[in-house]
Amino acid sequence: MRIPLSALIGLVMTGLFVLSALFAPWIAPYPIDAAVGQVWEGPSAQYWLGTDTIGRDILSRLIYGGSVTIFVALVSSLLSFGMGAFFGFLAATRGGWIDTGLSRIVDLMMAVPSLIVALVVLSVLPLNLTVLILVMGVLDSTRVFRLSRAVAADIAVMDYVEAAKLRGEGQGWIIFREILPNAMSPLVAEFGMRFIFAVLFISTLSFLGLGIQPPLSDWGGMVRENKDGLVYGKAAALMPALAIAVLAISVNLVADWILQRTSSLKGGRGG
C-alpha cells in the first residue's frame, strides 16, 4: 500500500501531537502553572515560544494543553459520530414512526438554542471531564444524525439496498454492510470537521466557565487567555491558534486519504 505524501505528513504530524500529549509531563520544560517569566515575553532560548499573560511558559502549557484538547475532542467526536450515524441510518432504513420519532427528537434538541442547553446541563450536572465529553458528544450527534440520515435516505432507495431487503437481510446487515460503506465518504469528511468544531467548542465552554478547570487549559482557552495581545502583534495568542490549525489540517489530511481509499474500495476507477 502506497501512502501519498500529504497523508504521510498528516499522519506524522498527528502522531507527533498525540505523542507529545501522552508524554507531556516528561517533555514540558516547565510546570504548567509556574509563572516563570515576565508578562508576554517574546520567544527566547529560555522560553522557546515566549510567555503568556501572567508569565507562564507557553510551550509547556501547549504540551499539557494538547493532551486535554486532543483527548476531549477525539472522544467526544467519536461519541457524537457513533451515536449520530447509527441513529441516522436507523431512521433512514426503518422509516415510519422510528424515523419520525428520532427526527423530531433531534429537531427539538437542535431547535433549542445550544447556549441554553449547555448552560442548563452543565450547571445542573457535576463538572468533570466525563460529563463534559458526554454533553459535547450528545449535542454534536444531532448534527451528525441529520447528515447521515440525509445520505442514507439517498442510498436506502438504491436498487442494491432494495435487493438486500428482498433477500431478507436483517437490519444490522443493511446498515453495516450496505449503507455504511456507501455513505463513508461524506461521513469521513464530516468527521474531520467535527473534530475541529469539538476543539473550538471546548474553548467556548471554557470561556463560559463551564469547561476545563485551571491550571489546566485547552488550546482554545489559551487563545482566549492571551487574546488581548493579538491586536498588538503579541505572539502568545497565535501559538495555540497555530497549534489548533496545524492539528486540524493534519487530521483532515488523514481524513482525505481515508476518503480516497474508501472510494477506491467500492471498486470505482482510479485509486
Binding site: 450547571s123 478547570q213 487567555e225 488581548d228 491586536v231
Partner: protein, 529 residues
C-alpha cells in the same frame, strides 16, 4: 502634569479662580511663580471650552437588560447614562471633597443628627418643570420605601424623618453621622420629578443633557438641555454613550476615532497603547479593590491561623505587576487605602512570606485536603489569572490551595456571599464609614466575609458620631488593624481607573471616585476642533 494642577489650571482659565489663587496653589504643588504664570497664559488659550460637536464614549458594563430607573442601576453604563441626564443633591469631587449640585448649601446641627440641604433655585427638568424640595423628599422616600427595590435602600435606612419646607430639605437621623452628605452623592439618588414614583424609568432629570434615544445595551443618545443651570458644563451639542463590552473592539474604536472616550483599558495593553499618539491614557488611583473573601463562619476558614496562612501566601507585588500591569497598588487586607480621608499610612505593608505562611498553616492543624477557591472570569478583570498566581504561591508554601472555575452566569447570586472562599471586587465608597458599614459591620446585609466582632462594631458606631478628626483617625486605624489580623478579607490589590481619551477631548479632570470622571465626563469635557 499632575491631574490636580490640570484641574486648577482649568478652573483658573475658565475664570472660576483668580490668577493669584492659582499661582499660590500651584506653588503649593511645587511650581514656581514664573512657570505658573506662563502655564496660565498658554492654558487659557488651550483650555477654553469649545462649544458644539458630538462627543462619544464607548464603555464596558452595559447589557440589553438595563433600564433608566436609577434605583436599579448597577453597572458602569447605566451609571454613566444616569449621571448624564440626572443630578444628585451633591457629588464627590476631586480629592474626595463634596461638590454642590442640586443642593446649594449643606449644614448640620452640633451632633450631626440633623442635616439641612438648601435646594438651588431655578433648576429645570427636561420636561420644563422646576425642581422643588418636595421632589427631593419624594425621591429619597422612593428609595427608602419598604416596597422599594433600590440599590440605595441600605444607604437611606438610617434616616428617620424627612421634611420639605420652602427650599429647605431637613433630614433627621436615628444616630449622628458626620458623613451623611456623602451618602447623598450615591448614584442611585438622582432627583426625579415627583420622585420618579409614576414612571421611574422615564429618564427625565435635571442634568446637562436630555435623552433622545435609548436602546439598552447598545446606545444612549443625548442632546444639550437648553435651560441647564450650570454654564460651566454641557459643552458639546450632542453626546452618545455606546456600549462596547469587548475590550479589544473598544480599544480599536478609540484608536480609529469612532469614539472619543473609553473606560477600562485592560492594564495588560497599556504599554502597547502608549505608542499611539492620538490617545492619552488617564489614570486615577481610587478606592476600588480586587479581593478574595473567606467566610469566617465556614470551615476551614473559621480558624484564624488558616486565614493568616492564606494572607501570608499571596504575592501582592506580583499581582499588581501582572494582573494590573503596575496600574494599582498593593492591598493590606483591609478595604481602605490612601484614597480615603483619615487613612493611616503607618500600618505595615503585608508581604509574601512562604515560611511564615507554612508556620501558620501548621499551627492551624488543617488536614491537608484541598482548599477550594471559587472564581469566575467576571469576578474582576484578570480574576482567573490572579487566582492561579495565588494558587502557585500558596502551593509553594505547602498550602493545598486549588482553583475552581465557575461560570460568570449566576456568579453573583450562587457563589458570591454564599460559598466559603471566592473572588470578588469592591468599587469602594467615598468615606471609610460607608465602606465599613456596608460590608464589615456584624449586621450588614453585604457582610460577605461573615466577619462578626462586637468590639469592631462598637468602635465603628462611635467613630460615626465622632467630630474630632484626630480621634476619629485613631479609631479607623484600630479597625483597620483588627480586620487586617483577624478578618476574612484577603485584599491583594487596589486597582487604578485606567481610561482612554483622544487628544482632541479637552476638560478632562481625573476623579478617582468613579469611572470616567465619576460619571461627569460627558457634561464636563469638550471637543477641540
Amino acid at each position: 502634569m499632575s491631574s490636580e494642577l490640570n484641574h486648577l489650571l482649568s478652573l483658573a482659565s475658565a475664570g472660576k479662580m483668580s490668577r493669584r489663587d492659582f499661582v499660590g496653589r500651584a506653588g503649593a504643588l511645587g511650581v514656581s511663580t514664573a512657570v505658573a504664570g506662563t502655564m496660565l497664559s498658554t492654558a487659557a488659550f488651550a483650555d477654553t471650552p469649545v462649544k458644539g460637536g458630538l462627543l462619544r464614549a464607548g464603555m464596558q458594563g452595559g447589557e440589553s437588560t438595563n433600564t433608566l430607573d436609577p434605583a436599579l442601576a448597577a453597572s458602569d453604563v447605566p451609571f454613566m447614562i444616569n449621571s448624564t441626564w440626572g443630578e444628585t443633591l451633591v457629588d464627590v469631587e476631586l480629592n474626595g471633597t463634596l461638590g454642590l449640585r442640586v443642593a446649594e448649601e449643606v449644614s448640620s446641627n452640633a451632633d450631626a443628627t440633623q442635616w439641612m440641604f438648601k435646594i438651588r433655585k431655578g433648576v429645570e427638568y427636561h420636561n420644563g418643570a422646576t425642581l422643588t424640595a418636595e421632589d427631593v423628599v419624594a425621591t429619597l422616600k422612593r428609595h427608602t420605601d419598604d416596597k422599594a427595590q433600590s440599590g440605595a435602600q441600605g444607604i437611606v435606612k438610617g434616616i428617620t424623618d424627612m421634611k420639605a419646607e420652602g427650599d429647605m430639605v431637613t433630614l433627621t437621623l436615628a444616630a449622628g453621622n458626620a458623613d451623611l452628605p456623602f451618602l447623598m452623592a450615591d448614584y442611585h439618588l438622582v432627583i426625579q420629578p415627583g420622585g420618579g414614583v409614576d414612571n421611574p424609568a422615564a429618564g427625565i432629570g435635571s442634568g446637562a443633557y436630555k435623552i433622545v434615544e435609548h436602546e439598552p445595551g447598545v446606545r444612549a443618545a443625548f442632546e444639550k438641555h437648553a435651560n441647564y443651570w450650570d454654564s460651566s458644563r454641557g459643552h458639546a451639542d450632542q453626546v452618545e454613550i455606546l456600549t462596547i463590552n469587548d475590550n479589544t473592539a473598544r480599544t480599536a474604536a478609540i484608536q480609529a476615532g469612532q469614539i472619543h472616550l473609553m473606560n477600562r483599558i485592560d492594564p495588560k495593553i497599556v504599554e502597547l497603547l502608549k505608542g499611539n499618539t492620538d490617545v492619552a491614557i488617564e489614570r486615577a488611583a481610587g478606592p476600588g479593590h480586587y479581593v478574595f473573601i473567606m467566610r469566617c463562619n465556614a470551615a476551614p476558614f473559621d480558624n484564624n491561623d488558616l486565614r493568616m496562612a492564606l494572607k501570608m501566601s499571596v504575592n501582592r507585588q506580583e499581582m499588581v505587576d501582572k494582573i494590573l500591569g503596575g496600574m494599582g497598588s498593593r492591598g493590606n487586607d483591609f478595604p481602605i487605602n490612601a484614597a480615603y480621608p483619615l487613612f493611616d499610612d503607618s500600618i505595615a505593608q503585608r508581604e509574601y512570606d512562604a515560611a511564615a505562611a507554612a508556620d501558620f498553616y501548621k499551627k492551624s492543624g488543617h488536614d491537608g485536603s484541598p482548599i477550594l477557591l471559587q472564581v469566575a472570569p467576571g469576578a474582576f478583570p484578570g480574576a482567573v489569572e490572579a487566582a492561579q498566581l495565588f494558587q502557585a504561591s500558596a502551593n509553594a508554601a505547602g498550602i493545598p490551595l486549588q482553583v475552581k472555575l465557575e461560570p460568570d452566569d449566576g456568579y453573583w447570586s450562587n457563589v458570591w456571599n454564599v460559598s466559603p472562599f471566592c473572588a470578588s471586587y469592591w468599587g469602594g465608597r467615598p468615606v471609610q464609614d460607608q465602606m465599613y458599614s456596608t460590608a464589615y459591620l456584624s449586621t450588614a446585609e453585604w457582610n460577605d466575609t461573615a466577619f462578626k466582632d462586637a468590639h469592631f462594631d462598637e468602635v465603628m458606631i462611635a467613630a460615626r458620631g465622632e467630630l474630632d478628626q484626630t480621634k476619629r483617625k485613631g479609631m479607623y486605624s484600630e479597625m483597620a488593624n483588627i480586620l487586617r489580623d483577624t478578618g476574612g478579607l484577603i485584599c491583594p490589590m487596589f486597582n487604578d481607573w485606567v481610561e482612554g481619551r483622544r487628544n482632541e477631548v479637552g476638560g478632562w479632570i481625573a476623579n478617582p471616585a468613579g469611572t470616567l470622571m465619576n460619571g461627569k465626563a460627558m457634561s464636563m469635557c469638550w471637543l477641540n476642533a
